[in-house]
Each structure stands twice: as structure tokens, then as C-alpha cells.
């Protein structure tokens, strides 16, 4: 949207009373029940954890520049990759989209004043904080070197794993409840607080994906809690559950763990898909294509996600029959994912695509998620997975899905809703440059790891044989990660700067039609003074650009929703 960047115009008035200025003082934040403030606190906390996880990632990549390792010993490296994985999964990606952006946007999209249980919402946030503290505690009680998967019997044998296992398990246990409560809150909110006119199939697709996510959070996370509690009991009291030396079964732990942790992958990717549905539609200024297919595919993915955990265990020694069945169900997840990709592409057809930062992240997602999904075929296929299992091919695959897709969609979503959250516009050109660095850096880092893995490089290796031809790929990958890091630092810089000297954001800078673009930027404390009426949130023909507002406004020749002349338009009526 080049018109956004040109010239200095009269700045739109900042709403006098917004949620940021509604009350002041530290306690007004720490004890707030406002979903917007809680969402913002989550955002800052999650990005802080992202910084920590990123530092560990750079340490890991730097170590692997040479076959014998550059900066760390074996023990330090094992801790670095464990903390990178654990922080990124439990503290960053799982809470990223639902807890920060979801918290901020979901009630406003529904035209509601808040989530259904505001106090529970604040409690969830503090559970996250306590979980993070326990992770730090793990570092000071002997360290953590089990890998983020805590596989038994390594993790429960006090002679093997380092001393920080119990604090870390406690951290994950507590974070699990943070996730469960957030999911319960969102489920109730979506069921109970939808405004008049918003039927299930008129919800923005972001809400569908958050809904599907919440179902998984509520149903799968308790299993993780129970599993980790059993692990703590075995390690602390020597009661045999998973350790064969005590009469337990280590493969049982893997079943329990992946029964949660596979659905958890969809806790990460489904909200990201929701963001992408919004980004592509709004920034293409074009009605989303195949709304129902996208909505149903979110539900289908949520259901299938519970039935495929065994594909993490193709080489574990589970029976051949079980393995074959899990492989078959795994492939069924490919279908709804492919459907979404094609629907997003079709949305761009005959659109009016603005090349601003959120849309660049959206288009980058389509490319990266396609690679992430297609390489899932190599891994779901049994004969090829046996060779690729536990190699860098898997590492590259899940970084394409969890980092390149889920996390970059999160960053895109931050840009999309930044004007709404902060009331400021960021520097668009800086955003485009930073996206280029991140996109190129990401692909250089992880595309090479596919070759590394198929050539046989195992995961979680602090050193590697010098004559296996791995080093060149490691070098390229490491330099790629440095480029990506530069992109993220640039992003942090221009976003922070925008808070001080960014242009005031209009109510509707991008031309979105879901309800958050109808309340001021930033929104007032109560979001809406009266309950808004809802139309088709993907019909952008009713909006037009206003030079005066420097944003999109309702077309003067089109009646407002709720008035007599506006009858709800249904999909396909165009």
C-alpha cells in the first residue's frame, strides 16, 4: 500500500481514553483484568523468551561450524540444544499466538468487552510467569540436558541426566495449566459471547483456528501433565513406571509424551494458519476463497492431530501393524493442509495485493509451509522415514513448520495488529527489509539441513565425523542463522522506535472488516460502547481509502450494517 507511506498528513486524533491510558501505575498493569493488557504482557514476555531461545540457537549453530565443535564441550552443547528446544516450544510457540495476539484480538473480533473469565485469564498469565521462573531454576539446580522430550529412562535416572530435571518438569507442568485455562477461556468466550448476526460460519477464520486450537489445548494438555507427574514420581521416589530397571516401560513414556506433543504441533500451527487467513484476505482486499473448506479443515486437523502420535515412534520398536496404521492416518493430515494452501492462493486471484510487511509474511508463509508440508511426505512414508528419522532432515522439517510457519506467521500477525495494539504505525520500508533478511536467512539456515539429514547427520550431535561431508552444510546453515538474527534485531529496533516516533495509527490502516478494525487504535477500555452488528467480515467492497484519515472508512454510498438496507450477504452471493 504505497499510498500509506507518502506525504505528511493531518494526523488522526488519538482517542482520549484508550486501554493504555485508562489507568496508570505498575499495579494497574500487574492486576489488570483487561484482555488487551494481558495480551500485551504476554507479548512482551513471550518475545523476551524468544530472545533467550534465539541466543541458545545461535550458540548451537556456532558450535557446529567445525566437526570437533568451536565454543562448547559436550555437556554445554547438550544443555544449549535442550534449553533452545524447551524454551521455544513451551515458553514461546505454544503461548505465542493464542495467548498474546489471541487474547488481544479475540474478544474484540467478537464485539465483546472481554473474555468470558477475565480473572482466569490473568491467572493463566501468572502461571506462565511461574513456569518461566521454574525453567530458570532448572539452570541453577544442576542444568538440564535431557532434550525437550525428556525421554526415559535417561531423564529419570539420577546418575544420567543433570539435576535440573524436576524443576524443568514442574515448569512444563505449570505451563500446561496456563495453556489449558487459556483454551477453556477462549472456548467459552466463542460459544457464549458472539454478537448478534455472527453465526459460526460468519466468524473470522482466525477465530475458527483459535477455537480448534483451544479444543486441543483442553483435551491433550492434561495428558502431558499426568505424564510429567509420573516422571517426577519415578525420578524422585524410584517408583518404576518408565524405567525398565525398575520394572517400567520406556516406550510407554514415548506414547504418553507424543499423545500430547503431536497435537501440540497443531496448537502451534493452527493459530498461525488463522493469522494467515486474515493477512491474505485483508491485504489482498479480496473475499477469502472457500471459507467453509478452510474452517472445516481447521477442525479436521484438530481431530486428526490426536490420531497420529505414533509417527514419532516409527523406529522405536512398536509393532509393524501399529506403525503402518499410524503412517496411514498421518497422510490424512496432508489433505486439509493442502486444501488451505490452495484456498489462500485462490484468495489472491483477482485481488488487490498490497506488498506491505504483513502480506510479505503471509506470502512467505505460503512458500515455507509448502516446503514444510511436502517434506512431511518423506517422513510419513515408512520406508524413507527409517533412513531420515532422528536426522537433520527431521530438524529441518519441523523448523519449516514450527519456526518458518508458526513463528513467522506470529511475527506477521504482530505487524498486522501492531497499529491496533499500540496506536502507532511502524516504518514500512524497514519492515520489508527486515522480512527479506528473515526470509532469506531462514531458508539458507534450514534448506541446507535437509541435505545434511538425508546424507545421514544425526540430531543432537555436539561433534561430527570430519570425513562425512557434513561441514560445508553446517557452515552455510550457521551463516544463514546469523542473517536471520540480523533480521529479527532490525525488526525489534523499528518496532520499538515506532512507539516513540511512529505515525499515529488510523482506526483501519489495512482495510480489514472484522470488528477490531471498527474500534479506535488503540481500542478504548471497553472495546465498544454499544454492541456492534456484524456483516460478512471478508466483503471488502464496502470500504474505501480516505486521504483524510490515512486509513480505510465505510463507503459513503453503501449503507452501514444493521441498517434496514443492509441484509446479511452470504458467501457466494457476489
Amino acid at each position: 500500500m504505497t499510498t500509506l507511506d507518502t506525504g505528511h498528513h493531518e494526523q488522526p486524533r488519538l482517542a482520549k481514553d484508550n486501554y493504555l491510558t485508562h489507568s496508570s501505575g505498575l499495579l494497574s498493569w500487574l492486576l489488570t483484568l483487561d484482555h488487551k493488557r494481558i495480551g500485551l504482557m504476554y507479548l512482551v514476555s513471550v518475545l523476551g523468551a524468544f530472545f533467550m531461545g534465539g541466543i541458545f540457537a545461535l550458540l548451537v549453530r556456532t558450535q557446529l561450524l567445525t566437526p570437533e565443535g568451536t565454543i562448547m564441550g559436550q555437556d554445554e552443547y547438550n544443555q544449549a540444544f535442550t534449553l533452545h528446544g524447551a524454551i521455544m516450544v513451551f515458553l514461546v510457540i505454544i503461548p505465542s499466538v493464542p495467548a498474546s495476539l489471541g487474547n488481544f484480538v479475540l474478544p474484540i473480533m467478537l464485539g465483546a468487552k472481554d473474555v468470558a473469565f477475565p480473572r482466569l485469564n490473568l491467572f493463566s498469565y501468572y502461571l506462565w510467569v511461574i513456569g518461566a521462573i521454574f525453567f530458570v531454576l532448572a539452570l541453577f539446580t544442576g542444568g538440564l540436558d535431557t532434550g525437550w522430550t525428556f525421554y526415559t529412562p535417561y531423564s529419570t535416572d539420577t546418575n544420567s541426566a543433570m539435576g535440573g530435571v524436576i524443576p524443568a518438569l514442574t515448569a512444563v507442568f505449570i505451563l500446561g495449566f496456563s495453556s489449558i485455562f487459556t483454551g477453556m477461556n477462549f472456548l467459552t468466550t466463542i460459544h457464549r459471547l458472539r454478537p448478534p448476526g455472527m453465526t459460526w460460519f460468519r466468524m473470522p477464520l482466525f477465530l475458527w483456528s483459535i477455537y480448534a486450537t483451544a479444543v486441543i489445548q483442553v483435551l491433550a494438555t492434561p495428558v502431558l501433565g499426568i505424564t510429567l507427574a509420573l516422571l517426577i514420581i519415578e525420578r524422585a521416589f524410584g517408583i518404576g513406571i518408565f524405567n525398565p530397571a525398575l520394572g517400567g516401560d520406556p516406550v510407554l513414556y514415548q506414547h504418553f509424551f507424543w499423545f500430547y506433543s503431536h497435537p501440540a504441533v497443531y496448537i502451534m500451527i493452527l493459530p498461525a494458519m488463522g493469522i494467515i487467513s486474515e493477512l491474505i484476505a485483508v491485504h489482498s482486499h479480496r473475499h477469502i476463497f472457500g471459507y467453509k473448506f478452510i474452517a472445516w479443515s481447521s477442525i479436521a486437523i484438530a481431530v486428526f492431530s490426536f490420531l497420529v502420535w505414533g509417527h514419532h515412534m516409527f523406529t522405536s520398536g512398536q509393532s509393524a501393524l501399529v506403525t503402518v496404521i499410524f503412517s496411514a492416518i498421518t497422510f490424512s493430515v496432508a489433505i486439509p493442509s493442502a486444501v488451505k494452501i490452495f484456498n489462500w492462493l485462490a484468495t489472491m486471484y483477482k485481488g488487490h495485493i498490497s506488498w506491505n510487511t504483513p502480506m510479505l509474511y503471509g506470502m512467505g508463509f505460503l512458500f515455507i509451509f509448502t516446503i514444510g508440508g511436502l517434506t512431511g511426505l518423506h517422513l510419513g512414508t515408512l520406508a524413507t522415514d527409517i533412513h531420515l528419522h532422528d536426522t537433520y532432515f527431521v530438524v529441518a522439517h519441523f523448523h519449516y513448520v514450527m519456526m518458518g510457519s508458526a513463528l513467522l506467521a506470529f511475527i506477521g500477525g504482530i505487524h498486522h495488529w501492531w497499529p491496533k495494539m499500540t496506536g502507532r504505525m511502524y516504518n514500512e520500508n524497514a519492515g520489508r527489509v527486515a522480512w527479506c533478511l528473515v526470509f532469506v536467512g531462514f531458508n539458507v539456515t534450514f534448506l541446507t539441513q535437509f541435505m545434511l539429514g538425508s546424507q545421514g547427520m544425526p540430531r543432537r550431535y555436539a561433534t561430527y565425523p570430519a570425513d562425512a561431508g557434513f561441514q560445508i552444510y553446517h557452515i552455510i546453515s550457521t551463516y544463514g542463522s546469523y542473517v536471520m538474527a540480523c533480521g529479527f534485531f532490525l525488526t525489534a529496533i523499528y518496532l520499538v522506535l515506532s512507539l516513540f516516533n511512529g505515525r499515529r495509527a488510523p482506526t483501519n490502516p489495512w482495510g480489514g472488516r472484522s470488528l477490531e478494525w471498527q474500534c479506535s487504535s488503540p481500542p478504548p477500555h471497553d472495546n465498544f460502547s454499544e454492541q456492534p452488528t456484524v456483516g460478512d467480515c471478508y466483503d471488502f467492497t464496502v470500504l474505501e481509502w480516505s486521504e483524510k484519515e490515512q486509513g480505510y472508512v465505510w463507503r459513503s454510498d453503501v449503507p452501514h450494517p444493521g441498517s434496514e438496507a443492509d441484509q446479511p450477504t452470504s458467501e457466494g452471493s457476489h
Binding site: V251, F293, G351, L377
Partner: protein, 399 residues
Amino acid sequence: MMSFVTSMILSLLGSVPPASVPTDGGATFWMPESASAQAPFVDHLFDFINLISYIFLVLITVILVYFAVRYRQKKGQVNFSGDGPVHNTPLELTWTMVPMLLVVAIFYLGMVGFLDLRRSPSNSYEISVTAQKWSWSFDHPEFGVNQSGEVFVPLGRPVQFLMGSADVLHSCFVPAFRVKQDVVPGRYSRLWFEATKPGTYQLYCTEYCGRDHSKMLAMVHVLPEDEFQEAMGKLATEYMDLPEHDLPTYALERLYNRCASCHSLDGSAVVGPSFKGLWQRTEKGETVFTDGQKLSNLVGTGKEFATPEDYIRNSILDPQHLVVQNYTGAMPSFQGQLKERQVTALILMMKYLDRLVDAQGEPILSPDLPELNEGDGSEGSEDDAEQATGTDHSKDNGE
């Protein structure tokens, strides 16, 4: 429908030039050197999935870039037409069904290849593998040979690894053979391959197992059949060349693993009497048998056993003859499985056990042994050329 799709795919596989499968089995852009009978199928399938992936990736990327450029928002455009369809059921069903058919085909081929990887031929040459932090140990029961850190396997013959772990999870991975299998404590797992190219190949541990996980490597040497037999024969008789001084250590490291499930080193009674203090009891003749006889009455000039060593030799080769009180006599005979010199080594091991292992039965790294002379053990160290044939797969004690 199913068989139609399969035959279609398989014919496609045949017609596509296999990028990852050069005729000489060398490394390609995607795959490492290929050296097993299973590798070509895996590589063909990998190439086929790659082909599908390339097609979809190029298709999606081209459409994405074309739309992004073609439908870029015009400068100064203030509002938007509602052009373009918002849904199209036949189109959406097409892009649901086409990927579905493709993944069904891929799944089927993957399953076929997998079942082949899991089902080892019945005539496989078997090797017992023990994984422990952070080393691999390989037992050849057929030759009574143990190898550590490297393993010899015959060329062109199916080989099966019967694997157990002494501590945590490990996983055995040989990229050149395209095989991998987790090694789980408390149960056995199996992995098989048929090597098709002589050479040396890297074996990795691919399940994280602690500090030196990345150093838990081993080499697989594929040898033509005659060289393999020769190498095994050499390893099987290596004790012949050992000086007497090294025999106790040899017995502890290479022979004791066959005794370990019944005879402890730390004094605890298992199926049979512990080796701890066994020599001292024998020398004093304190042992009492099930028929009430005392050993001291059986040893001496003109009696059944000339020396205490003779009694132990008899117990190994004919264990049912005299069974120690309170035990059931479950021991099999090792007649024909152990050579005389190996029996000698075992007796020496029992004699100097307190110098070889500590109170917990853990091996002492460099034991302080006296200079031993020929004849210090039992008489008759002459050896027959017959090969030892151990039958059990009990785990090696490692180093």
C-alpha cells in the same frame, strides 16, 4: 483402483531417471553412498516423493509470484471490486482428491518398503549388539568372537543385529544401508541388512543418550565371504597368542559374558554360586554337594580330582556330575564350546578375581596381576582347531 494406482506409480518409478541411485552406489546430492540390498528401493521412493514435491513447490511458487505481481494493488486505488469467485466446489474437490490419491500411493509404497525392512530372512547371520553409554559391542555367537567399536559383516548375506541396551535408549543407524532401529533397555530389538559393497561404513547412535552421544560411533566393515571367515577365525583364536599374564583379563572381557546371567562377581547368589570367593572355597575343599559329599574328600593324589583346578574344569565341561548344595544344576555343558586354553583362562580369572573386580563386581581398569607361568592354570593347554560355538545371546559385560 488400488492395484491400478500402484502399477501406475511403479511404472512411473521405472521411467523416472533415479537421480539418487547412480549405478555405482556412490553418494548423490541427496543420499549418501548406497551399500545394501534395501537401499535402492528407499532411494527410488525418496526420488519419487522428491519429484512430487518439486512439482507442487514449483506450481505453488509460480502461481504465488504471478498473482502477487499481476494483482498488485494499483497506486492510488481507493476501493475494490468484488471480482473473482469466493468458492468453487468442483475446483476445491479437485484439489482435495488429487493430493489424496497421491498420498495413498506414497503410503502404499512406503509400507511395502517398510515391511521388507522389518522382516529379516530366516537364514540371516546373527550378531548380538549391546549398546551402552557410549559404545557399541558386537558378539558373533557363531564364532565366539566379541568386537567393540567396529564389526565385521559378510558381503552378500543377510545380517541380523539382535540388539539390547545396558542403560538408556540408543538407536543404531547405518546411513549407507538406510536402516535404523532404536535400542531399548529391557527388551530386544532387531535390525537387518544385506551389504552389497565391500568397504567401511559409519554407524551412528541416533537416539540422544547423554554426554558423549555424538561420540557413540562404530565402523561396519563389509568383507567378502572368504575374508570374513578368515578374519573371524583369527579373532576366535586370538587368545592362543596371548601371554599367560593376559588370560584372566581376556576371560573376564571375552568369556565371562556367557556366565554372567547365572554367576555373579559381587557375591550375590543368582542361578548358580557366585564367582566371588569361589576359588578360595574350592582350594580349601569347603564345597558341599547335593549328595552330601564334601569337596575335600574328593581332591588329592589318587582321588577323583588330582588338583582343585581339575574339579573346576570338570564343573565347566560336565556340570551335572557334581551339583553344589542348594543349587539345581541348571548349567549346560560347555564341552566343545570352550577350548582348553579358554578353560584355563576362566580358572585363572576365578583365581585372581579379587584383583580384577572390586567389591561391587565392577571391573578394575588396570588390574595388578602377578607374572604367570605356563602350567599355573590347569594342565593341558593344547588346543583343538575346532571352532567354539556359543549358543546364548547374553549381553557382553563391556569394558
